[in-house]
Every structure is written in C-alpha cells, then in structure tokens.
Symmetry: C2
Subunit: 364 residues, 2 copies
Amino acid sequence: MCSLRSQSSLTVHSTDPYNAEPAPERLVSSFLTPQKDLYVRSHGPVPMLDAGHHRLTVDGLVATPLDLSMVEIRRRFPVRSVTSVLQCAGNRRGDLRQVRPVSGDPWSAGAVGNAVWTGAALADVLHAAGVAADANPSMHIVFTACDTCETDHERYRYAASIPIGKALSPEVLLAYAINGEDLAAEHGFPLRVVVPGYAGVRSVKWVTGITVQLEPSDARPQARDYKLFPPHVTKETADWDAGMTINEMPVNAAICQPSAGARLQPGPTLLRGYATVSGRAVVRVDVSADGGRSWHQGMLKCDQAAPWGWTLWEATTDLPPGEHDLVVRAWDSAGQTQPSSPDDTWNFKGYLNNAWHRIRVTAG
Amino acid sequence: MCSLRSQSSLTVHSTDPYNAEPAPERLVSSFLTPQKDLYVRSHGPVPMLDAGHHRLTVDGLVATPLDLSMVEIRRRFPVRSVTSVLQCAGNRRGDLRQVRPVSGDPWSAGAVGNAVWTGAALADVLHAAGVAADANPSMHIVFTACDTCETDHERYRYAASIPIGKALSPEVLLAYAINGEDLAAEHGFPLRVVVPGYAGVRSVKWVTGITVQLEPSDARPQARDYKLFPPHVTKETADWDAGMTINEMPVNAAICQPSAGARLQPGPTLLRGYATVSGRAVVRVDVSADGGRSWHQGMLKCDQAAPWGWTLWEATTDLPPGEHDLVVRAWDSAGQTQPSSPDDTWNFKGYLNNAWHRIRVTAG
C-alpha cells in the first residue's frame, strides 16, 4: 500500500480530482525534478493500490496474452531507465485566458517536469506477448488504468492509446520508479506508462491493462478530449473526430526565475527557466527585457545523453529601475520558434500554448 | 552529355550562378513538380557532365573504398524511389527584406518543389563500402560535387555533409532520375544526392565523391554558410562555429494562387498553396482574408504513402470589393504553428523564413 504524499509545496488547482503544480522557480533548482515537485494531473480519485496484488494484463491482437504481477515485471524484463520530460498538454493554459476563457485548470508554467524513469521497456513486454517488430503499423496500444473518473455526469475508466510505432520505440517504459524511488500514489504507484516526447495524457498512471488493437482507444481521454481545434471551434461546435490528437508537443519555454510580479533590486538580474520540444533538440533560447524588441541568448544546460530530457537555460540582464516585460522564446533544431502571442495559439480547450512566455517585474 | 534546358518559365534571380524559381502558381498545378518548374540554386557554373565518364568514389572511414561508374550504380544497387520536397533554406527570404536587408537572392515562395526521385539508396552504397548500421553515430558523410564555386574572392569545390544517422536512413538517395526522366544538367545530371526533410544545400548536385569521416565537411556551404543566427548577429560579427547548422526545416506554408497584387472579381475566390515540414505531418492549414484576425481551414491534399512529400491545400473565401490581406499559416502534427511576423524570423542570411505568408489582393 502507498499513501498520498504531502504536497504542501504545490499550488493546488483542485482537490477532487487532485491537480497541482509547483511554483515555477522550483523547477530550475535541479536538472531532475524531485517527485515531490512534479505536477499532478488526475482525472478521478487517486487509487491507493497494493503492489503485492497489482496485475498487468496484455491482450488483444497478441500471440501470447500475459497476466503479470509486479514481481514478474521486475524480474522478467531488463531494467531500463530513461530521462524524460513529463508535460501536461495544458501546461501554460493560464496565459490563454487573457485572450478568451478556456476550459480546464488554469495551469501556469509548472505542469512539466524532468525525471529519470525506471521500469521495463514496453517493447520488451509487447515482444513477450508475441507482438512482432514488423507488426501492422496502423495498430494502437491501449493502456487501461485503475482509476474511475467522472465528467459531465459520465463515469469512465481512464484509458488512452499510442500508435504501435511509438510503443515499440525503446524509450517508452512501464515505469515503477522515478529518480530511483518508488512512484508515489498520485504519480501512478505501482506502475505507470511513460511515453517520452508525448503529452502526459498518454503516460497512463496505475496501468493494469494493455490491449493491442486496430484503432485508438474509444475512452474519453483519447476520443473526446486532448485534441487541438482551430480558434473558431467551441465546446458546442467541436467535432471530436476532426480534432488533432495531441501526442508530440511544440517547442516551448518559460521563465521560472524571477517570478511574475516580482519586485527586484535594479541591476544585473539572473533569469532562469526551461525549454522543451518533442523529438528534436532545443538549440537556442532568446531572452528579452523589453517585451520582445531586442533579444540576447541564454546559456543552455542539457544532457546530450538524455535526448528526451529538457533544456534548462539562464541569462543575466541589466534591469534599470522601472517596470520590465521579460520574455523568452526557444528555437529547435529545425529552426522552428514559437508564436509571439497567445492570440495565435488560443483554442477552447487551452492546449499546447507555446506563445512567448512573458512576465512583468519591477526593479527598484 | 546533357545541355541546359530552356527555363523560360522561371524567374531568374541571377544567371551566374544560375538561380531561378517558378511563379508560385505553377507549383499548385500538380502534386508532383515537373522538372522544368523546379527552382534552380547553383553556387557556381552548371557543369556539363558526360554520364559515360562520370565516376562516384566512396572513401574515408570505410572498409572497402568504391569507384563506381553510372552503369555500375544503376546495375549494382536496387532501384529506390522517394517522393520528396526539395526546398532551399532561403525560400521566402524576400519577405524578410521588409524588416531589414538580408544577403542572398530574394527568393519568393517558389524555391521549393515536390518530385519523385529515383536512384540508389545511399545506405546501400555505404553498406557496400563496409559502413555498418551500428557505425559511430558521430560520423559524417561528405558529398563532394563537380562544380567549382567562387564567393568573396574564394574559389572552392562545392561540398556538404550530413550526419551518418540520416545518411543510413532509407529515404536518402543517390538519384539519377526525377519524375521518371533523367536529371537536367542544372538539377545535377548525372547524379545528385536527395536528402528528404533537409534543406536543399545538403542534396548535393553533380556528386562525384563520398567521404566518411569523423567531422562535418569544412567546405564553405557546410562550415561558413547555411547556418541560422540570432537577429542581432551580422555578417561582420558572425561566429560561424556558433551558428545552427540548417538541416531540418520548420513548418511553412504559402499562398500560390492568387498571386500577390492580383486584381480579382469580387465574390467567392479560390486560394491554393502548399505547406511543408520536416519529419512531421502537416495537419491543418488556416487561411485568413482579414490579415489574420479570423481564420478558416483549408482542405488538404497529401499522399499518406509519401511522408516526405508536401501538402497542397485549397480554400474558398468570399472577397467583397476592396483590398484584402490574404494570410496562410500551417500546423504540424506536434501542434506547432508559424510565427506571425517576419520580425520574429529575421536573420542576416535570410534563412528559414516561416512567418505567416501574406499577400495583398484587390477585388473589383
């Protein structure tokens, strides 16, 4: 059994379901985010599971269905570790509210973290079930969880799916540890999926079933949520089949230090933050102290051996007395940068906001 | 022997070297760009080569150096075809001049095309030379061409390189045909490299040498050109080692029809264009007839079996009498869209401009 940790350092958006994020400055204190500082996104009550009784079944279009205990998962499959970002599709949603209202929790820039995840490679488990490396590339792998969620008077079991091509990639784990310690209950104890490069919605916590099938999951998180729509679409007009399924995420960056609204000593000021992108490298971070009229470059800190990890950055800028609009934007290895304004990223669900991150501070 | 084709339909930016692009509306007349409508980017005089005497050598860190005739290349290696975009890193550079001057030809939106390329897989040739699939991943593959170029009073042989991981990917070809016909002289006859997903600079024409080595090419196109710099860097201050080597390219889109400045009949108006991105899919194209204040979606035409090809789009919009700012922006499968303004993409070399494409037309 595992109990819910004290999360007193997190800003709580809701208690039921439990959704909370760290203050952004917590994120830049270390390259690896301690579990206690990792945002929590739940869709239902956090299940309190017993590792001794937890099972993982693998079924559907497999040659050899599996029914595994946690001990079997740990013993039967090689132990793999991957340093990876975990980021909510709604990270930085709060900044979209200055354009028009959006649904969902108003996440600041803290719905993201970077950790070493350890467990079995999903590919190893799928191969043990007889899924071949050259399997039908249109198949999907559905992850079913233990939590029961409730939205709009509908009760459902949390589930989501990923394409088999991604599922067979070596970085995708069935993780039982984070940063060398057991998962906390709210982070998926005793077993969760970690899909590096994909939005957190696919990294299903408390996973108990894996099903190989020909189509994506029809569960709400896959079929009627976590899709990107054009700006004119509303909750009432959304055609869920037409929305873009959110898997990979765009290049993004945030200023974590100083914090928005801070009153600072005039003079040289250290700015720190993170930058992320899916499947590419962050190659440059530009910082502005004048709202985006002029820029200089931040120093980057990443781990070349951790291509799924994030990039931390820092820059020093001179702030004379007065108000200042501090801005950051990142560039990825395809020469892609971020849109300047949340007007350009607004969507009614408030997903994937990667407009330049702006904070106002006062010096003096 | 092969002679230079009549390119009377192209807009010529310079004759020596020969640089020319089609009118944008030519690009949307077919999914595959006819060779005669494909932009030409040269760095020196177009060499007139004899296929009967052309040789390709493969040397450097290889177990078995090769020296191949064109007949041997065609007979010894399986024939592979790939539908792929070829795009200049300077495509749409012209739009950056409204911000500040840039160096290089003022390409409009025509320095791009989409064709079926046929030849030998580079991986097959490298394997024949004894390069293993698990070769040192930091190695580079240098392509040396037959053309002698001259810039800033420096004469050099054209060469460029790509990382071995990309070189061993099955889509990279040593191509001797385009759309089922021989390459024209200005497109690389008798043999050129085609690196799908990478800027055209790496798709070396008239290739005669392949060298496997531990570092990128030190030739000018690799070492002192085709790099992306921040907006404050100038020709005088550029540290070429610090610039980002341009390989993959960001999501981009252009309106090809109507043409900029067109005078149209008021009423329903058909807009057509293309969208491109490296290593991802184009999932949505937004079109605006009011400068970007409101948007509607274009219909997309792509080939699911051609992941390296482009996406054509069309949309109909109602234009009342008057002047109109038509705008397009695309979104890729990571939810990434384009910056709104060329202020946000400007760099002194004028590369990778993927700001929203805007044209002004008059109805009535």
